[in-house]
Every structure is written in C-alpha cells, then in structure tokens.
Amino acid sequence: MTAVRVVLPAHLKNLAHVQGEVTLHLGGERDLEVTRQVLLDALESAYPVLRGTIRDHVTGKRRAFVRFYACQQDLSNEPADVPLPAAVVAGSEPFLIVGAMAGG
C-alpha cells in the first residue's frame, strides 16, 4: 500500500470539498507501479466530481491549462504511464496539480 499526497488547485479543492492535501492510498495488497494514470484514476475514483476537470473525458489527455509538478520537476508532458518520482510514491513529496498561468 502506498500513500500518495496530491495538492489540488483552489477551484478543484472547492469542487471536491477538500482542504489541504488529498492522500490517496494506492496499490492494495499487491505491488503497483505508481504512474500518473494510476494516480489520476484513484483521484477520480475517490472524487468523481473531478472527472473531466483534469483530463478530457474522451481522450484522457491532460487539459491544456492544467499542469503537473513534483520534486521541482514539470511532469506535464511526461507520458501518463511513466512511473512517478520515488519521493512522490513514498509520500515524502506531493504531486501538484496546478492551473496554468494563462490570460493577461
């Protein structure tokens, strides 16, 4: 079992009625490779209201103005099936979902 910490942007915290970080317990009794796909699947399973707000309903792709960061790295353009950094999987660093700076 892995406890992964996720930080949502303010609008999605309000939508999901959460404060602070979200902790997702992944993997159950078997070893699980924690990828962004796995993390977002678990997040949307725990908070169904977030479906469609981070990833497109149809394509599953990251919405254009949503970015992913962890361990001071921009992971936004990493493939969804790449393992997340060990510190995220260990729960010592959070996975950040961020509304991109856009507009003027």
Binding site: P9, H11, L12, L15, V49, R51, G52, T53, I54, D56, H57, V58, R63, A64, F65, V66, G99, A100, A102
Partner: protein, 372 residues
C-alpha cells in the same frame, strides 16, 4: 405572495436576485461558483426550485450544477458531453475542415413538464438531453449529423448551439439556433432536424442565392400563445416568421441599428417585442454611447426607444444573446444584463428602468422566474 427570482450568469459566477411582486427592493445572493464562467442558468417550469446551471472555465472544463431549493444550495451533476457518434468535421474560420470538439454548454432548457428532463446546447454545436436530472447526458445526433453539418462555420463566439425553444402546443416540435449555421426545426422530439432559414440574408458573404445554412443567428424567441410566430435577432437584421420558421421576413424598420444579440417578447402581448440595438459587428456597444432598449408593439417594423433610467451618455456595454428575459406578472417586467455588470429591471414593460445591480462581473445570461 408573488415573488420574482432573477438568475444571472456572469464571467465570474452566478447570482440570484429576489424580490417581491413590487420589484422595487432586491436581495442579491452570490457569487455561486465564484471564479467560474456561468454561461446560463434556468429553472424548471414544472418545479421552479429545480435550477440547472452551466459552469465552465478554460482550465478545468465543463460542469453542470443543479439546485433543488431555488438556488440556495447546489450539487454538481454529470459533465460528460461526449458526442454519440464519430464527430466528423465542420469548417474552421479559414475554410478548412476541423474536427468537432466539445468546448462548453451555452444553454440549458428544462422540459416544460418534467423537472428531471433538460436539454443542453453545446459548442461545438450539438444537442444533448438528460432525463435523470443532469446525472447523464445523451446526444441527439440528428442535428449535428445533418447533411449540411460539414459546411457549418463558427461565428466569432464559436460554433455554438445557443437557443433551444420547446413548442408548448405541438408535441415534439422544437427549434434550435446555431451561430453561424442558422435555425433548425425538429417535429419528432429532436430526433431529426431540418434548416428553416428561408428569407434570411447575409449580404455579401454568401455565394448562393438562398443557401440552406450559413446564417449567424444570435437569438430566437417565441411567445407560448403563438407557437408559429418566431422572432429573431440575427447578426444584422431583426426577423420574424409566422409559419414556424418556414419563411422569414425582416422587421428591423426604424431601428437605429439592426445589429444586436438578444430579443425578448412581452409575457402577455405576443406582438410586443424588445431588442437592444448595438452599433455594428465591429463596435459592440450602443449607438452614440446611449443604452436604449427598443420596443415594438406591432411585432416589428415600428420601434420606439426606451430610455428612462438607462444611461444616455458614455455607455459602452454590450448585452449578450441570453441576457434578456421577462417575468409574467400582470404588468410585465423586462430584465437585461450588460457586459458592464449591470442588471436592469423595468417593472412597467419597458417604460422605466432601474439597476438592480451595478457592479457584477460581465453578465452572460439572465433568466426570470415568477413564483406564486
């Protein structure tokens, strides 16, 4: 005691304005969904405390919210607007094919009789229906897949289905309008559709004499007692049809400009209509900086300016297509909202106006409920 509830969608949230029948003193609640664009809210005619709202941002996409207590509390419902068949292509601004892609819900039209049934008009143009209070949405593909679809081109605001009218007298008849494809009619509950644009003209822009589609219809309204009569504010031109859209004729008459977005119909006088003239397609503000609603008591052609209580100098706001509505009190109230954040009410059918709110975010939509 009769009460009025005004549902206001803005660029930064929803607001609910309430008053008694005097319409003199208003309470404002909101913003609901602060920071999100609320393109439209509308209450169910069958259960006025059931309200649906379209919530969207470019960051996090589309949500639909539902209230079962008149807007006091809300719950998010379904937001999956996946086209039911292969989306295909429409024309992009440059004339090249572009795949259909869902962007947002422009308009929500609750059923006249069932609070759990609601229609959604979306961009890129498609028509969806929910029969479970918004939990799930199903596309009625007959409109998007009409044979003219590959030739539809977006207006400046996108390829949006912005108007849905449910005919209260003819079972199964409904109308939809799309910028910049035109007006469409269904006689089988939305299963199949045909364009109803004969008589519309976009001077200088269309290669054919009487094309089937290609018209930037901004808004269409119907009075429920005369379901064969439709009033339209087109990009340019104010139009009417008296045969359920089969043919249209221009009724712009003496308007200072026939460009505009909304059009409204008096709740008790089906030949009394309202528009807000805008200078031009490139100058989206009132002529001469004077905000004037124009009223026709003859179903068009002859118009009078209504100015009392509206700013008559230095006013450079716009009024969007879904941002005008009427109540059904004995003396009909008329309401509209502006891009400057003002919501105006006229409790006397347009003779005098007063601002209910002056500093809201830009207003995208206004709907009114008359509550017993």
């Amino acid at each position: 005691m009769t009460r009025i509830r005004v549902l206001v969608g803005t660029r930064k949230g929803a607001f609910v304005l309430t008053s008694d029948g005097s319409r003199a003193k208003w309470e404002v609640s909101g913003p609901h969904f602060a920071g999100w664009e609320i393109y439209h809210l509308k209450g169910s005619p069958a259960d006025p405390d059931r309200i649906y709202a379209s919530q969207n941002t470019g960051w996090f996409g589309q949500l639909v919210q539902r209230s079962d207590d008149g807007g006091a509390t809300w719950q998010p419902v379904g937001n999956d607007f996946t086209y039911a068949t292969e989306p295909g292509t429409h024309l992009w601004y440059d004339g090249t094919p572009r795949p259909w892609e869902f962007k947002r819900v422009w308009h929500l039209e609750p059923s006249l009789s069932d609070p759990d049934e609601v229609w959604a008009g979306v961009e890129d143009a498609g028509l969806f229906r929910s029969r479970d209070g918004g939990a799930t949405w199903t596309e009625l593909t007959g409109l998007r897949t009409h044979s003219s679809g590959p030739g539809w081109q977006p207006g400046a605001g996108g390829l949006c289905l912005h108007t849905i009218i449910l005919d209260p007298a003819h079972a199964g008849r409904m109308f939809a309008a799309i910028s910049a494809a035109g007006t469409f009619r269904s006689d089988d509950h939305g299963e199949t559709w045909r364009p109803v644009n004969r008589g519309l003209h976009d001077e200088g822009t269309l290669p054919e004499e009487e094309p089937e589609v290609g018209f930037c219809v901004h808004h269409v309204e119907m009075h429920p007692s005369r379901p064969d009569t439709l009033f339209m504010q087109k990009h340019w031109d104010v139009m009417r049809s008296d045969d359920a859209g089969e043919t249209w004729r221009e009724v712009s008459g003496n308007l200072p400009s026939d460009f505009g977005f909304p059009i409204g119909v008096h709740s008790h006088e089906p030949e009394t209509i309202y528009v807000v003239p805008i200078t031009s397609d490139s100058l989206h503000f009132p002529p001469d900086g004077r905000l004037r609603v124009y009223r026709s008591r003859t179903g068009g052609d002859e118009w009078e300016p209504l100015t009392r209580g509206l700013p008559q100098e230095h006013c450079y706001v716009n009024v969007y297509r879904d941002a005008m509505a009427v109540d059904s009190l004995e003396e009909c109230g008329v309401y509209f909202g502006t891009t400057g954040g003002q919501v105006y009410v006229s409790p006397d059918a347009g003779d005098t106006w007063e601002a209910i709110a002056r500093d809201l975010p830009a207003v995208l939509s206004v709907e009114v409920q008359t509550l017993a």
